[in-house]
Symmetry: D2
Subunit: 361 residues, 4 copies
């Protein structure tokens, strides 16, 4: 029956348990099982393809990943240039800063007495606690730093690079902000106004008139210009949220100005939201193709899983399988320490879109 065999080509290979397997060996055995296990294994293959190809890799990060113990995984991905540009919620950067400043989050319970916690000024994130008074200290630290800057508008990319630099100088500790500073990887934070970093910035105005001014629209221009400069892109998304859309938006916006942009070449998302309620966080990668956010022939995979399970496994596997690819990789080179960023020596302005149909720069 030749027609039937068209569908029945690759058998499921039951996972065989064996002691001593490393993460990439486990994932290799999961490629031939089903459901989300297969998808997680596929995620490693898709990431390999990104690293092998000449693409700018965006990493989006939403959900309480930093408070939840994944900030050094993200720092590792940045430091080793598994990714080239981070788009994050403010909270993830804030909770990263909290720990990089030497403070901690704590193991707690989801069945807490929240009134008792409130009385002790302990803030809860599901099963994780933090000391609210330390948070107040962070806000003030951020406000002091922001007030120390020349009072003019800053894109989040510029502000966060400077913040990362200040944090590195102060602490010499690893974390997302410090790793991005040191690896010169840009960070965008489209919803910075909805986070404690934003709160710190707002408090800077109490310290110095005109301080704490963020040019959020400049981020849109700059991120699109980055795609215009390097039209081949990829998207790795953890948890959806504003980062997921911002990465796609950069691609869509860039396409207005450059015919070379055609959506991400590769896409990988690890999400817990579902498509059928219509929200962007859970939207499928297929849907992204209709918008031109993703090339219609892109290699892509969506993993329905909590990142606190999926990412440690995936990063541990990549730590074994990816180093040769990373060694061959020629990632984009950024300068980030001034108002205008450059990529591979070319400027990426935030005040107007580059039109590649005209001679650029």
């Amino acid at each position: 029956m030749p027609k039937k065999s068209r569908f029945l080509q690759t058998p499921v290979e039951p996972f065989a348990v064996e002691g001593g397997l490393t993460a990439d060996q486990i994932l290799a055995r999961m490629e031939r099982i089903s459901f989300q296990g297969r998808n997680l294994a596929t995620a490693q293959r898709v990431w390999h393809k990104m690293l092998e190809d000449d693409v700018t890799i965006f990493l989006g990060m939403a959900g309480a990943l930093s408070a939840g113990g994944l900030r050094l995984v993200v720092a590792h991905l940045i430091a080793n240039r598994y990714v080239d540009c981070l788009v994050s919620t403010g909270a993830n950067l804030y909770h990263d800063l909290h720990e990089t400043r030497g403070q901690r989050h704590f193991i707690g319970s989801p069945h807490s007495d929240d009134a008792a916690l409130a009385e002790e000024r302990i803030d809860r994130v599901y099963d994780t606690y933090a000391d609210e008074e330390e948070f107040i200290g962070n806000d003030n630290w951020i406000a002091d730093f922001a007030a120390s800057l020349e009072p003019r508008p800053y894109t989040t990319r510029e502000f966060l690079h400077r913040l990362g630099g200040h944090l590195w100088e102060t602490t010499k500790r690893d974390g997302i902000l410090t790793a991005a500073f040191r690896a010169r990887v840009p960070i965008f934070c489209p919803a910075i106004g909805d986070s404690s970093i934003g709160m710190g910035l707002s408090q800077a105005r109490q310290k110095r008139a005109g301080a704490g001014t963020i040019d959020i629209i400049g981020d849109i221009v700059e991120s699109a210009n980055l795609v215009i400069r390097r039209p081949r892109t990829s998207s790795v998304v953890l948890g959806g949220g504003t980062p997921k859309n911002f990465i796609n938006q950069a691609s869509v916006q860039a396409e207005f100005y450059s015919p070379e942009v055609g959506g991400h070449r590769y896409a990988l998302q690890i999400v817990t939201d579902v498509p059928h309620f219509g929200g962007a966080s859970g939207s499928s990668l297929e849907e992204a193709q209709s918008w031109g956010k993703l090339a219609t022939d892109a290699a892509s995979v969506s993993v329905q899983a909590d990142a606190t399970i999926a990412l440690p496994i995936l990063a541990s596997a990549l730590a074994i399988s990816a180093p040769p690819l990373l060694a061959r990789r020629k990632p984009p080179v950024f300068t980030l320490d001034s108002r205008v960023m450059t990529v591979d020596g070319q400027t990426v302005p935030s005040d107007r879109f580059e039109d590649v149909n005209e001679p650029a720069v």
Copy 2:
């Protein structure tokens, strides 16, 4: 057995089917069933309490509610002052503007051929389509409007009020932005940089140097000052996302400056996310108490449901039960058409926090 009876006080009353029931009669019968049906019925009661008390009611809105057919429900809630301040994602305002400008979204299928849609330049949101070329027209319309404004920083509150005004003058059609303009209800959009409204603003820079500048940090100050001015607040959240956190953040930030602020007095959320992955969208209202976002004695309810089911029912029920409460209600009065907003005649600055311990203003 007196101890047992402590737990077994109110029997479940099975829902009795009857033809001709209105939405509030249906919800009344759902108060004594279980699970999310009970929660939806409770949501009506909690909203009643908000309307009866002297509180500022924030409405947060995330997810594709405007594209999905709920924009006139939200406009209705604004026009009739069920709510006093809207916090929205940019997408919901954008898709509202799309329809207010006379364009439509269309019934589609979640099982579409997305490559075919991409070829026709049709954008898909789960089971809903829109014409990408019309979107490009909207972006340009927004860019033109933004370029027509005096080039200076605008809070989203000021910008969106002006945008709503321009939309009303141009179209005289109902929608979220126009209803908020006419009812003088402020709108904050903390992630405006992550939306097509942001894209329109970014394109304004192409038309006029210095245009499209948004003071996202000013929004934080202004929203907190609003809570300092009127410390009794409530939160109604549809779908989580940045609006949910921004509303809570206003409360937390205000508390730094005023001892009278003690978290929302009432809270109601209709969400599809779950708490156990740690993300803010799905976080429980109990958890919010640990942060002081919600008063520990607040009346609150969380409904796990798609807003496209829950909100039409709830709004239809409130349209019957709430008018007497709305008639008695004395909602805050805003002026929104300039850089500094006022509430009940008092200024609400965006450049510094009001400290109620010092004589304010």
Copy 3:
């Protein structure tokens, strides 16, 4: 643009709030919105089609619907012959019996102290409580009844019909079991061994040797024969579980013996599970087509919602819109009070499959 218009035919019509709307008017307005709201409205249309056509309508019921306050909705659907055959978990029948016997479930909290409840012998189902001692009474009542029957194997269909009859004679109260008894609607319970009804049956053996014997395989034969007799079928599923599969299995099994069987003509499911983990409860209706469980041209809809929200609305709407259809409907007529059931006067044996290719009966 003629090609584009192929996709953009029916605009989304924003839901317009109005006081005094009945459930069917609300659903009519939800047909033109998106996401699960649209699906719930479509569910009413699909049910209308079932009632208009000459099909046997199976209702599957899983999840704690009876404890949660929906037992009289299901009883109403049975009594008014919206459905012709119920397939249920044992728990739903047990909690129905509990209330029909005059006992109650109680409004509780999901944040209970379960150790305290355990001490008081109160059993919790999420936010609902029941008295464990009353449950022990029920078990014994079932055991006594089972021990009173002639000791021979009973299909669940026969046993549950007899149990419903005994319950009706004893209580004269409405409920699922009593409604099904009175309307002569068969009930299958494929996982009766996994429920407190099964526990009661097991305790019958303590009272009388050989009592409590259930012919679960006979149920398979009988349900398939029912489909062979009446090959045009429909499926309404609440919550997935064993009932969902059992209804499909009857169709698949019948097809082995009759070429006239071609899968359900209509299907409607209200579920909270999702497809992407591979479980049957969340499986899509599209997937069911590959198995021949559902005709490939079937009118069908899947609603992702808690039944405690969706079913009260849907049943209230149908109570207005469906009576003319019910009046015209000629549902199958069953006799259920003996070992061999009949439908429309023909026997439906449980000991062998009817082969329609041979002369039947």
Copy 4:
């Protein structure tokens, strides 16, 4: 601040990526992160405790785990006596038998054309395909085997042990049924009537009058008697469904007859369902305490994850960490090849409950 420190004792330790880590090293690093990652790590610790203690370990298995590539993981857990008694859906045993008979499932796509699959008689389980004609062959094979048995009622435990034996003799291949046969681990299948194994049994009646008779109520008695004999138990649940409840029911039922039974001492569940819709599959382990299903001081953990991700990791880790515990373990010894099962030499009848208050046996 001594009170605060009560809550803030154990810091979250960010996961540190390192190449070459084995699964148990990865899980060890996940114990100090948050959310479901921490829960998965805790699952290993809880399983260790079960193995160290003198408890009968039940494994419940629902969802398409066998079709999805996890059948050899479960076989491994059985063969190495990580567990002592399996409770499964029929589908998992059927898809296991399918492969043990030398046939395969195949890698497919969730975006299939189901009408095309139906035409080719290919059945889809989300992203996995199987040949329907092979399934028909299996059904017939099961029917032949069932018809070969002496026609009398069989508990699923006895029938499945015999089926496993026949399968082993025929194929000499590893799988769940054959591993359980060889390790003399009992299998209960409370919803066997809702599965293709049930369909095969029903077809046995076509081959031989009186064949295919299953004593599902006997399973209840036998499983409860097993707990009465060995009152210290543990529960490992994959996916919820009927197995989850059946394992708990054995405990609850046993408690009626023996004061020594006090709920499971340890419990571990890997589920994707959630508690807030009231269904048993997603119910919390806390709720189980109110029913006495779980001891109020039990060590327990609930992991919200797809088993196709969680189980390969967990089993790979246990393959490293558990062998010393397995070597010291003294699991219960069963005889399973006749109508009455024994455990540790004592009979476990299926026709009446053992009352430990009277002298047993």
